[in-house]
Symmetry: C2
Subunit: 256 residues, 2 copies
Amino acid sequence: MSRKNKDLNLSVIKAFKLLDVYLNDKQEWGVRELAKKAGYNKTTTYRLLSTLESLDIIQKNDDDKYILGLKLFELGNSVSVHKSLRHYAREPLELIAKDITETVHFGVLSNNRVLYLNKAESPLGLKVSTQIGSYQKAYCTAIGKVLLAFSSEEQISEYLKQVKLEACTLNTITGSGALLEELGSIREKGYALDMEELELGLICIAIPVFNKNKKIVAAISVSGPSSRFKFENIQSYLAIIRKGAQKIEKRVRDYS
Amino acid sequence: MSRKNKDLNLSVIKAFKLLDVYLNDKQEWGVRELAKKAGYNKTTTYRLLSTLESLDIIQKNDDDKYILGLKLFELGNSVSVHKSLRHYAREPLELIAKDITETVHFGVLSNNRVLYLNKAESPLGLKVSTQIGSYQKAYCTAIGKVLLAFSSEEQISEYLKQVKLEACTLNTITGSGALLEELGSIREKGYALDMEELELGLICIAIPVFNKNKKIVAAISVSGPSSRFKFENIQSYLAIIRKGAQKIEKRVRDYS
DNA sequence: CAAATCGTTTCATAATACGAAACGTTGTTT
DNA sequence: AAACAACGTTTCGTATTATGAAACGATTTG
């Protein structure tokens, strides 16, 4: 292992790599399988897990499997970044979800991806279900495209430089020119659509949330299965979402 | 430093102790002040912070101060413990808060304390505001007393053995006998009141949430300033809260 | 009842975390 | 403008600690 720029604490990095495994796979692990997955010796893994357990970062469930602990829940809720945004959006999102009966998301751009800050789920059985705090590609989601569309030109060109537009479905926009055109169209219309560009059968509509300086601070999206999402409803959906967006905008006027 | 039962990874413990500081104090720190607060050498603290920063567990704000990072937000939202409870309670809490216009909390007992799993805040300016994921004393809060009251006899006597009933205000119940009597009264009435027992000027009312086996799984409380909380409203408050509790109970019938 | 698998412990060794001191910047005081 | 103070950051030799193969005891499985 070569010397890094700064000499970081390797044990700490290992500990968090273990936690990271929980984000990408299942939520309960034995020592040996987690060690294998993370690529560590089982003794090391055991000791790290024991340490994390002593801190309530990890805890054991009834089957003696290791799961993420409540201390992480506590720490996660103390993160101040975007805290007011998360908070202000909550009630309006709930009302939109209730009116439209589809899942509503609220997010911002963070490191070229959409970061979901909050959501309100559809009451129906068949629904989109995403994890708050998780990330998604921006270029093939309605919420991501609307966030990009109202970003500055520099941000958009930076995005196109850094992100590879890979096809997720046959509908995914994979050309820079086509995406720029789409973003222009979104700016004109004031909303974005995702017509099964991320996933087949999944349709979304999204609108921006601005601060008092007309700068975009976040976006709201509504997602549902193509079987329920009818074109004739889009205008009524938009009216409902805009009402929610306006409530949020009133509360985040000074956000930058 | 003497040898512990298990040899835990000290670096990992130190890293999380740093994060813990954020829970009890402010949310942005410089290296030296955080080192002083945590009791570590500034070089060690710097290296741990750098490590955590490389993992997005910590990030720097615009003033180059270290704050909790979005990776923690992501991890915290992935904690599976009580996840369904948190989720199911959300919309009903929002409706209660809207109807009563006071802050609503939803919590469980965890290690002899109340763990707040969710909340919905009062729309009013003067309001109670607690952090989701944080803890509070059980014996002097309405939500804690109702959770205790409907616990098993063993759990209650264990609680009394382990917890010291310290006075928070002049109204705090500090005697075991008096608390047992209060819990009995709560079981009879079906709800608990906190008449400024935790904090002067703060009044709460709480009711239990049961699963289909009539076992308590959580509780809902409504909290407000004594200036607004009138006795004549209690019955109407209870009706609203019970409606919300029933909605949650329908969804958590199988929770144990 | 033997074999396999689990979480856990041991121990000598190699790796790395450590802190005092120095460094380069920045903002403030004289 | 010079001196000072406080900050985050880097250096380097040393001492602490993390490491993993192997062994262990307990369950589970064939």
